[in-house]
Every structure is written in C-alpha cells, then in structure tokens.
Assembly symmetry: C2
Homo-oligomer: 138 residues x 2
DNA sequence: GTTGAAAGACACCATCC
DNA sequence: GGATGGTGTCTTTCAAC
C-alpha cells in the first residue's frame, strides 16, 4: 500500500506540507512528476486525510486548552453527540477509547466562561474529568 | 493581534492549508497579496506554528493509536525526556497537564511489540495508564 | 519511472492609493 | 493596511523513451 518512499514523502509533508514537490523529489531521489503522482495516489486512497496547520492556541485567543475524559451512559448518546456538535469549533478531536471513560475530547476554549457553559451541559448527561494542558513539551 | 479576517484565513487554512492564496482572497474579499501578507505575518509572529497533515494511521501501518497518562516523579525527569526522545517518531504530542497524572502522551505505535517495548522502559521510571483509541468520531 | 518542453497558474515584488 | 501590474518561478501536462 505505502512503501518506504511514500513514508519518506509523508515525513517531509508532515514537517511542512507546503514544501515544493521539487524539494521532496530531491529528498527521496525521484523526479518531481513521480513524487506528485505518489502524493495524488495517497490523497485518493485516503492515506492523506487532510492538509492542515498547527496554531499557537494562546495567540488566537484560545486560552483554555483541555482534555476531557467522558463516561457516558449510552441512553444519552444522541444528546451527547448533539452537544459535541454544538461545540464543534472548540473541540478539535473526539476519540472513542478503552478504559473507565469511553470518550476523550481534545479541545481549546476561549475562556473559562465558554468551558463552563460546555461542562454544565455535559454534566447533565455524563460524568467527566477535565485535564488542563499546561504546555506542550517535545 | 489577529482580527476577524485573520481568523477566517486560519479557518480556511485549517480545512486545507494547500489552498491557493487566490481562493482565500475570494473568501475574505481581499486581494491575493493582502492575504499573503497576513499569512506571512502570522507565520513570523508564531501564530501559525506549522503546516502539516492528518494521516490515516491504520493505512500507514500505525495500528496502535493510544493515549498514555504518565505520573512521574521529578527525579526521573531526565530519563523520562530521553525516553520520550527515543520514541519521538511514535509520539505525536506530549503535554504537561493538571490532574493526578502530570503528562499526557498522544502516540501511534506500529504494533503491540513496539508499544510493549516503550511501556517496559516507561514502567521503570513512572506510573502510567494507557487508553486505546478505538475510533475518532466527529 | 524518467526526461524534456510548453502552457498556465501562482507567488512575489515594487509602486501607488 | 490594501490594490494593481509585471516578473520570475513552480506545477502540471504531455510527449517519447
């Protein structure tokens, strides 16, 4: 499906997906059209889901980055999904997980007030634990 | 720092950061150079940290997406960081958090064996809890 | 998959409002 | 801070190998 050359291409794109095809071609020792074709294939086959960016959340006014573990009773599943949908802009990722809590939310809220509004609604249908993100280290 | 127009530009880039500046210009009703200048500013000021991509982890052979909460005694901090560094390719994000555990690792390992190797080393210096990611829903 | 060439689109720069 | 026009460059597409 994806070979070693593809992995190298993905690695380059992961570091900077606006890199020029020519530069990737140099890295992987292929011609530019060959690299472009490989990228097109990976886009079509769904290996590459999306080109996106990483922001400094603080600088765009999102002062409350958090993780929330959610323990949900399945009867509330519909309400829960509509709540997630309502706060879609603040919720960056939403995973179903194993463990004592069955969902994990990765989000970034503008302020305490917005986060508070979310948790008040969440508390009505689920138990949850909030973890504040103090910093990203790596 | 960032105004409403910038937010719209970031939103467009977030959906697809390989979008052409011309197309963003249409969306925000500005000229292409004006948009390019705003983007350059946000790159320089660190608002935009990185252009990257989202992969289908399964399709690139990363069959074990996980979150790991780590409770670390600070005396082991150096060892811990060098372990994180050793497994840098499998660790996608590494956050310092509040709560009973002080770090949260977001990672994707190729298989159980690789994950096992990591946890054996981790167990020597910290307590941890692993959560398997079953799916991403949103 | 490579090379080479051509067309078109795009980004960048300087200038001006 | 934004618009316009010119220039250079990249990408894409096609050909043939």
């Amino acid at each position: 499906m994806v070979d070693d050359t593809d992995i190298k291409i993905l690695y380059a794109l992961n570091k900077n997906c606006r890199i020029k095809v020519n530069q990737i071609a140099e890295i992987v020792h292929l011609s530019a059209p060959a690299v472009a074709a490989r990228i097109a294939n990976m886009e079509d086959s769904g290996v590459i889901k999306k080109y996106t960016l990483e922001l400094d959340l603080e600088k765009v006014g999102l002062h409350r980055p958090i993780f929330i573990q959610v323990s949900l009773h399945e009867d509330n599943h519909k309400k829960y999904l509509s709540l997630i949908n309502e706060y879609r802009l603040s919720i960056r990722h939403h995973y179903r997980t194993t463990g004592d809590m069955n969902y994990l939310i990765e989000g970034a809220f503008h302020d305490n007030e917005e986060l508070n509004g979310f948790t008040i609604k969440l508390a009505k249908i689920a138990n949850y634990r909030i973890y504040d993100v103090l910093s990203e280290e790596i």
